[in-house]
Amino acid sequence: MPDPMKIRAAMAGDKVEVKVLMAHEMETGQRKGHPAWFIQNVTATCNGKTVLSAQWGPAVSKNPFLSFRFHGGKPGDKVTISWVDNHGEKRTDETTIS
């Protein structure tokens, strides 16, 4: 089981600002003896509705930090972040907007 993400979601004016810190090796596959191992898909939902969907590649750094803003959230709403890596490993964590 991969390590949990750290997620913060807070109102910034009329938008919700989300900050996520993921724990992942993010190996490019270019190093000898280190096969490619990186997060490929990232999804963020707010109360079940997708607010961000991303396809990542090996260029993203180790232990990625992701920050984004979206409209339509309010304090108390649930923000859920999920990722899937190229090994099929998954991680989902959630937080409440403050």
Binding site: R8, L21, N63, F65, S67
Partner: protein
């Protein structure tokens, strides 16, 4: 003679038990990082902090900046390679690091409070903050 030896052994066993107990309930390490040098120095300090957290994830870290040391905590600040400090600061912030900026510096250098990044807190005096944290048991580190 024998009783003395036995007593010493008992005392040693007692000491061992005490240090063992202290280890089990060790309070987390608390560190205050001090920076009063320009943006040239900041990347190394941030790197040191990240390394410390990698080695001891439960360490509580506060960074106190004053003088030229606050520059990297101003909005739009860039390191000597031209990269913004924001991702590094926010990443460390997510890992529990606190950034504190000296208000005396802001006043004397005529820097508006609004120019300080949101992840940093403004404290009345940088040096007083360091002294306060040290008196609370924080370990002083100046890379």
């Amino acid at each position: 003679m024998q009783t003395i030896v036995r007593r010493m052994a008992a005392a040693a066993a007692f000491l061992f038990a005490v240090s063992g107990a202290a280890m089990a309930g060790d309070p987390p390490i608390r560190v205050v990082y001090h920076i009063n040098e320009s943006v040239q120095k900041a990347p190394a300090v941030l790197h040191n902090i990240a390394n410390e957290l990698d080695a001891e994830p439960n360490t509580k870290i506060v960074l106190v900046a004053h003088g030229p040391g606050i520059d990297f905590l101003l909005k739009g600040a860039k390191d000597p390679k031209g990269n913004p400090f924001t991702p590094e600061i926010e990443t460390l912030g997510m890992r529990g690091v606190e950034f504190r900026v000296c208000n005396n510096t802001l006043k004397s250098r005529h820097i508006d409070r609004s120019r300080v990044v949101e992840d940093a807190k403004i404290v009345p005096s940088g040096v007083a903050e360091i002294a306060k944290l040290e008196s609370q048991g924080y370990v002083y580190l100046k890379p």
